[in-house]
């Protein structure tokens, strides 16, 4: 075992873990916010996330075909892609709630869950159909923006592409804005009030349905932003690439304490780090017996252990009975 190597790659592994973790955190917010207000798992959120990636790639491909991709400054291009991705995913999430969940609000809990699974399949195949007709392909590659691939040498052993820093900064900015929105504004307080007690909130003059729509809009937009960042960071997307990150982000939300917003952020980062560590170190530490392909098993084993000892998640509170 090469100790020096273990030490040398450490910063790089942390960086990979943080990037992955922020991605999970952004997606996890959508699960946790919706769970917070409706106590319902929006299984279609993984597709709402990946649709953000598709909206973003369409914009970039469009700019490219116009020859504008290199003419427009890259921060502007990226900002635009983020905004359209957020708008696309946010509006889609609101529509899905209105069409597929709201009519089932008073049905037994299993029914909207099944509806969500149905929406998830429906959206996967709609993306596939649309992209197949439009591009004759449904595996799409994010066009490269050269400036984003420049590698910055931080130390002798670590260098980072600019895009990774951009992903981290964008995710941090988004999480910060969300935190302020939820904790420091009147409408954010209303979201928390609705999450706690819908009937009492309606007695305050809060239009509960509107707050629920807003929650889907915000959660969806965060997912859409994550989708664009996912595309920028990893390049290749297809209609099914939302599924696994979605599942992991859901896990991150549970790990942090489902319904708890800071918990989703923390859970995402913890899961991202676990995964990155497993991917890089498992093989080195076990002399090759377990390779990087065991990263999910490792990450989920840790997760199961944490939940056995702390079933409400890292930041979750014990649910209190209501009068």
């Amino acid at each position: 075992m090469d100790l020096q190597l273990l030490v040398d790659i450490f910063p790089q592994v942390v960086l990979d873990g943080i990037i992955l973790g922020f991605m999970y955190a952004l997606i996890a917010l959508g699960y946790t916010m919706v769970y917070g207000v409706l106590e319902f798992i929006n299984f279609a959120h993984s597709e709402i996330f990946i649709i953000g990636a598709f909206v973003g790639v369409e914009l970039l491909l469009g700019l490219q075909s116009l020859g504008a991709l290199d003419a427009v400054p890259w921060p502007l291009v990226l900002l635009l892609a983020l905004l359209v991705g957020m708008a696309g995913s946010g509006l889609l999430a609101v529509t899905v709630e209105r069409v597929a969940y709201r009519p089932l609000r008073s049905a037994p809990r299993l029914i909207p869950l099944i509806s969500a699974i149905g929406v998830s399949f429906f959206l996967q195949d709609m993306i596939r159909l649309f992209e197949s007709l439009w591009h004759n392909a449904f595996n799409l590659v994010y066009p490269t923006i050269d400036a984003l691939n420049v590698r910055l040498e931080l130390t002798r052993t670590i260098d980072v592409p600019v895009k990774s820093l951009v992903v981290i900064l964008a995710a941090l900015g988004m999480l910060g804005v969300l935190w302020v929105l939820v904790n420091r504004t009147k409408v954010g307080t209303a979201i928390r009030a609705v999450a706690e007690d819908q009937a009492a909130a309606s007695l305050m003059g809060i239009n509960v349905n509107r707050i629920i729509s807003l929650t889907f809009l915000i959660g969806g937009a965060m997912g859409g932003a994550a989708g664009v960042l996912f595309g920028v960071q990893y390049g290749l997307i297809n209609p099914y690439s939302g599924f696994i990150p979605g599942l992991k982000a859901f896990t991150a939300a549970v790990l942090g304490g489902i319904g708890n917003i800071p918990g989703a952020m923390l859970g995402g980062i913890v899961l991202g780090l676990l995964e990155a560590f497993a991917a890089s170190y498992l093989s080195l530490l076990t002399g090759g017996a377990f390779g990087a392909e065991y990263k999910d098993i490792f990450a989920f084993s840790v997760l199961i252990l944490i939940l056995i000892f702390r079933p409400r998640g890292l930041l979750g509170e014990v649910v209190r009975g209501r009068a």
Binding site: T189, A199, S202, G205, I206
Partner: protein, 233 residues
């Protein structure tokens, strides 16, 4: 001001209210007395739109309220302090009070906050505290204070004495009388008939979903039936 006529309300097959009628005039405190399960909470929830009657009408200054969603009824100036207080446990005292003023855009919010603090100085001391950590009495104060932040024309109170020590009950009822003297009309639902009749102008007795008796507070307090069944004599 508030007029309720021939109200029927059911929970599935259970008929909770059968032809309930009552009225509240501007400036009054009207008490609705009744044992556990009589239908008091159901009456208030129907007025504030949380439940929909199968029959009957409710109007506020001759504007019909049946079918209007709860958040829109609040806009008409009815604030409801629900049974069990239902404060937002995870929000701070300040945030709870701000939610009480949620639909308001006017400049009077700060003045109403001062008024709530004048009525309940304890809330001002606890302003930054998370509401779930308040004592039972403080939570009741917060529930009433939060409703006052709407600056309501009509205040619905569902058993404010529930689960409180006798001294606190007396304090809360004194404050309710003060709130009324400051100009808010009040419909008060209580099992504690003695306390309720001590501050009310008029009252109704609800028995298994129907109005059994009505009269001024003094008439009800003198009624042999009321004295036996509700005042424990």
């Amino acid at each position: 001001m508030l007029q309720v006529d021939a109200l029927d309300v059911s929970y599935g097959k259970i008929r909770a209210l059968k032809g309930v009628g009552l009225e509240v005039a501007r400036g009054e405190i009207v008490a609705v007395l009744g044992n556990n399960g009589a239908g008091k909470t159901t009456t208030l929830k129907t007025i504030s739109g949380l439940l929909r009657p199968t029959r009957g009408t409710i109007s506020l200054d001759s504007e019909p309220l049946v079918g209007v969603p709860p958040h829109a009824i609040v806009l008409k100036g009815i604030a409801h302090v629900p049974e069990g207080r239902r404060i937002f446990n995870r929000l701070t005292v300040r945030e709870n009070l701000m939610m009480g003023a949620y639909p308001r855009r006017d400049a009077g919010i700060a003045a109403d906050l001062d008024r709530v603090f004048a009525l309940f100085p304890r809330l001002q001391e606890r302003i930054a505290q998370v509401a779930g950590t308040l004592s039972g009495g403080e939570q009741q104060m917060l529930a009433i204070g939060r409703a006052l932040m709407l600056s309501p024309r009509l205040l619905l109170l569902d058993e404010p004495s529930m689960g409180l020590a006798p001294v606190l009950v007396e304090q809360i009822f004194d404050t309710v009388a003060d709130i009324n003297r400051q100009g808010t009309t009040i419909l008060l639902v209580e099992q504690n008939a003695a306390m309720a009749l001590s501050i009310a102008h008029r009252g109704y007795v609800l028995e298994t979903g129907s109005i059994a008796l009505a009269g001024t507070a003094a008439e009800l307090a003198d009624n042999a039936e009321v004295r036996r069944a509700y005042l424990g004599e």
